[in-house]
Amino acid sequence: MPLEDQGKKGVPPACSSGRSIDVMPDVILEHILGFLPAEDAVRTSVLAPRWRHLWKSATGLRIGCRDRGEAGTGPVKEYRKFLHRLFLLRGGWSLETCEIRARIGEFFSHLRGATAELLYLASYPVQGQGTQDDMMLLPPMLQNMPSLVEAFIRLVRSTTCKCYSCQLSDSSYNADSSDTNSVLLNGLSQDKSLTLISTYYSLIVFKGDLRWCPIFSNLKTLLLNEHWCVPDDFDELACILEHSPVLEKLTLQLFSEGPKHNVEMKGGFSLMGPSTIIISEHLDIVEIKCGVVDERVSVSARHGEIQAAE
């Protein structure tokens, strides 16, 4: 493979090693490819013979991350075909980053045996397909990710259903029926940083999980959205806090749909409540992100430093 013109003037000799991307070692190129959406990564295989198989060892896997074609749009059939090929061909499951914004969760099981330090999962189910199937496929994958340091999980009930509180009753998922004790959270309990963006629907899953009380022994930062702080029902929040002995920072983001999303909350907002729970002594920061801070709202935390972001 002929390289870029070597004879450029005025560049110190030591710099020449960095002049063409093709003289870089594979590890660097695999790192670069790890930042690309899976589709773009695969397509680099055509560039030159050397690039033929590089994408298969990319250090990151990003599915559903292209700018155009938001999750929930585009033909599912083609996408499924693409993913099928991708998982068939791709080796190297030692990932640094795994980012999945998927409309279908069936391929989660392909990730069994993958290791990643950073995991971003967002599930957007296709109409007519329930999230519960995704939910059942997630745990085996997560349990096999011992090196996970940071996880961001967002589960959305349905792309057509914007109202989170509706149709709660027709949810067929029943946490009790799962044969593994804690389906989701147990797999995550070793994380250092965890973001759980929950809708009512998936909160049911988390609720079921929490009854088994996983200990988040390494959890240092935690971000939760408004569905974790439904007034008068802070059991889940309390339970997570109680089981996070080294938690340092708690962020409550009260606009899961982006900064313009307004959440109206009535009722008391007291974490501590009458029955005081035991929270981490390391908890230094409680950050609450919301649009307007109503002065009637008061938040108290033991070592509390409250920061309200705009």
Binding site: V11, A14, R19, I21, G34, V46, A48
Partner: protein, 174 residues
């Protein structure tokens, strides 16, 4: 600038180390900043690089090294805070602004930085520059990528091979 627990045994003033580029330029920098490099960290922990000694870096020229150190100095305080769980949103936004501006550079400088970040094992910088190249590739056709990355125009044989490959990988181009 505070430099706690980053390998400097001194109390009081921050410990300085000297780095010597391939073209023999000497850079004096706080040990905490230089320690962002995994490669240098052990040497610095062992007390190297101080006094008149200096640590030679035969693979990094002075232009690249000064750019690398600009990054290290900016990121050292946050790194000293252990990933800075208590960094404010303002601090984070400022670092992000710096990073964006930092990689807004000539491609040959970017390539030199990639090699230097790799050789010196500076994790944050490695990701920053890799992401920059990925952004340059994203959404482009193979020919556009070749041009962007500075590949020469393909010979007819190479072109034929590319076409054949694209047929084989049709599933990735739908």
């Amino acid at each position: 600038m505070a430099a706690p627990e980053s390998g400097d045994g001194n109390n009081g003033a921050a410990r300085m180390v000297t780095l010597i580029s391939s073209d023999n330029t000497r850079f004096e920098v706080e040990a905490a900043a230089a320690s962002l490099s995994q490669t240098l960290q052990l040497t610095i922990l062992d007390g190297g690089g101080g006094g008149g000694d200096g640590i030679p870096l035969p693979n990094v020229d002075s232009a690249t090294l000064s750019k690398v150190l600009e990054y290290c100095i900016k990121h050292a305080p946050a790194a000293a805070n252990g990933g800075a769980p208590n960094a404010t949103a303002v601090d984070r936004a400022e670092l992000e602004r710096f990073d964006n501006e930092f990689v807004n550079i000539d491609q040959s400088v970017l390539y030199s930085l990639i090699m230097a970040a790799h050789n010196l094992e500076i994790e944050g910088l490695q990701s920053l520059v890799a992401k920059k190249v990925a952004d340059m590739i994203k959404g482009k056709s193979p020919m556009e990528i070749r041009r962007t990355l500075g590949f020469p125009d393909p010979t007819p044989e190479e072109q034929a091979e590319m076409n054949a490959h694209m047929l084989e990988y049709g599933w990735a181009y739908e």
